[in-house]
């Protein structure tokens, strides 16, 4: 029933690669309690999209730029003691989204398909996009291999890791760059609103069945890949959007996983 047309192959190829890259990154995001931080940064990427459209260039570079600037602002704001960080994140998150939507819609007139930027357009992935996904994804994984141990140590205990010689600021800064690069790559596939779900939901689903961090990352990648296959199939057969379909399967698997773990623990 499903014919493997080129656009479909590209969709599978891009989404599966992203699933593999996002799983270890998303696990680290959860362990270091950066989910809301990641969400704020990823929604601010809409401003980068607007910037790209205004300049008439590919959106990848402006999205990376804007996400890094927003991440930098968040880090600076997290050091002030007047307003708690969650309030700052809430403010930035909605402020950036509002600004992004207004900019995207006002810059280029009615031609812009805002929905495709918010939720992604997985069947519009081009060959150039694929180069980005595979090239960028390979780079992210390579740096992540080096960053894995220090990030784990920071997740376990920041003070202890620092005392043992992990350079907290450098490690976190490099991690944020990786996060921003991944968001920029993923945004065409799953959109600004869903990209963080693509990162963290499979990791959440993998948690109850993982005894080690590495197993959790691998299992998260498998769950994400399965969700991609199921989601794209659903999308094709029922003519519903691809990105949300994938995230929906991720969420269902996560709910079943966490729910069953909670039930067995109580029993």
């Amino acid at each position: 029933m499903i014919e493997l047309e080129p656009f479909l192959l590209r969709a599978f190829a891009a989404a599966l690669a992203l699933a593999v890259v996002a799983a270890p990154l998303g696990s680290l995001v959860i362990w270091n309690r950066m989910a809301y931080f990641g969400e704020t940064v990823s929604q601010a990427s809409l401003i980068g999209i607007a910037l790209g459209l205004a300049l008439g260039i590919d959106i990848t570079a402006p999205v990376i730029l804007v996400t890094l600037v927003v991440a930098g602002i968040l880090i600076l704001l997290s050091r002030q003691k007047i307003v708690p960080l969650d309030a700052i994140l809430g403010l930035m998150h909605h402020g950036a989204l509002a600004l992004g939507v207004i900019l995207t819609l006002s810059l280029r007139g009615p031609a812009v398909d805002l929905m495709s930027y918010l939720f992604g357009d997985i069947f519009a992935v081009t060959t150039t996009d694929l180069y980005w996904v595979y090239g960028g994804g390979a780079l992210v994984l390579a740096v992540l291999a080096w960053l894995w141990q220090p990030m784990l140590r920071l997740a376990v205990h920041e003070e202890l890791a620092s005392a043992e010689g992990v350079d907290r600021d450098v490690v976190k800064a490099v991690f944020i760059v990786l996060l921003s690069l991944t968001i920029a790559i993923a945004i065409k596939i799953v959109g600004a609103l869903l990209v963080i779900a693509f990162l963290i939901v499979p990791a959440v689903a993998a948690r109850p069945f993982s005894a080690t961090p590495e197993r959790m990352a691998v299992l998260a990648a498998a769950i994400a890949a399965l969700s991609v296959l199921l989601g794209i199939t659903l999308s094709l057969n029922f003519d519903v959007p691809g990105g949300p379909s994938i995230v929906l399967f991720m969420a269902v698997i996560a709910a079943l996983s966490v729910g069953s773990a909670a039930l067995t623990r109580r029993a």
Partner: protein, 301 residues
């Protein structure tokens, strides 16, 4: 060269035998709060594992620590006590090199390895991590090393358990095991008995005492609660943004500054854990004849 009577850390550390003879009445004049004039000018003690001179730390306009002089030697347990907000953790961070002093300096013996057991060790439940994996994290310690160090701290049976499922006492032992993995000469423990029950507390202190004996460690112990710790300590520094008083446990517990900081109730509790006393102290720290055999010193005046 090693004997400097005016040093804030007190001469008793260099001569514990004299301290046990309770010939410490003279200590107070030099040790107490009033005397900080010449801080920062004394040379570092070459026999110390780690030393600080004239340490001052200011954060957001507040002076958190000032005029801190201290030395820790091998085979010595130094306990740092003080109320919440006294700057204990900041001082430890400065000694570990995590906090830059605004003036003064810290000197470590070249090649000094420090084992650090931080305060509040709570591992996030979303992070799956067995004890063995935690101990291997970073430099990748070998299996048999992990087993032997867990044996040493009496936590061998939790090796395959998840970190998030350990009890407070088990967790402290595991973190202690990690600190021991790189064969430290100095062990730094920040409030190690927090979240540990009463029996576990005494056992943990006994363990730290044994580690000092078997490994010849210098130990820096931070506490806001004096109880059992004192029996094992060679020296106590009472900190409240500056060194309020210091000396052997008995001296500090009777010191007016200590009484003022912790109140007479706490001071009495402390005394319960001392060895047999044949005398008691008055408030000025002068030995006075004991009213009866085992009565806690520093009681009613």
């Amino acid at each position: 060269m090693t004997e400097r009577p005016g040093e804030a850390a007190g001469p008793v550390g260099a001569a514990p035998a004299a301290a046990h003879g309770h010939s410490h009445a003279h200590d107070h004049a030099g040790d107490c709060c009033a005397d900080h004039g010449g801080a920062g000018t004394r040379p570092f003690d070459p026999t110390a594992l780690i030393g600080a001179r004239g340490l001052k730390i200011v954060r957001s306009g507040r002076t958190i620590l000032s005029d801190i002089d201290l030395d820790i030697h091998a085979r010595e347990i130094l306990t740092l006590i003080g109320p919440n907000g006294a700057g204990k953790t900041t001082l430890v961070r400065a000694l570990l090199g995590l906090e830059r002093p605004d003036s003064g300096s810290v000197r470590r013996r070249p090649g000094l390895r420090i084992g650090y057991v931080p305060q509040r060790f709570e591992i996030d439940r979303t992070l799956p991590m067995t004890v063995a994996r935690f101990l291997a994290l970073g430099d990748g310690a070998r299996k048999h090393r992990i087993a032997s160090v867990l044996e040493e701290v009496g936590a061998a049976r939790v090796v395959n358990q998840q970190m998030s499922e350990l009890s407070g006492g088990e967790l402290q032992r595991v973190v202690l095991a990690r600190a021991l993995l790189n064969d430290p000469q100095l062990l730094v423990l920040d409030e190690p008995v927090r979240g540990v029950d009463y029996v576990g507390e005494a056992e943990l202190y006994a363990l730290i005492g044994r580690l000092r004996d078997t490994r010849g460690l210098g130990v820096l112990l931070i506490s806001h609660d004096l109880h059992v710790v004192m029996a094992q300590s060679d020296r106590v520094i009472c900190l409240n943004r500056h060194v309020c008083c210091s000396g052997v446990p008995e001296t500090v517990a009777q010191h007016p500054e200590y009484m003022r900081l912790f109140g007479p109730e706490q001071a009495r509790n402390f005394a319960v854990y001392q060895h047999h006393h044949d005398h008691r102290h008055d408030l000025a720290g002068e030995p006075a004849p004991a009213p009866s055999g085992n009565a806690p010193p520093g009681g009613e005046q």
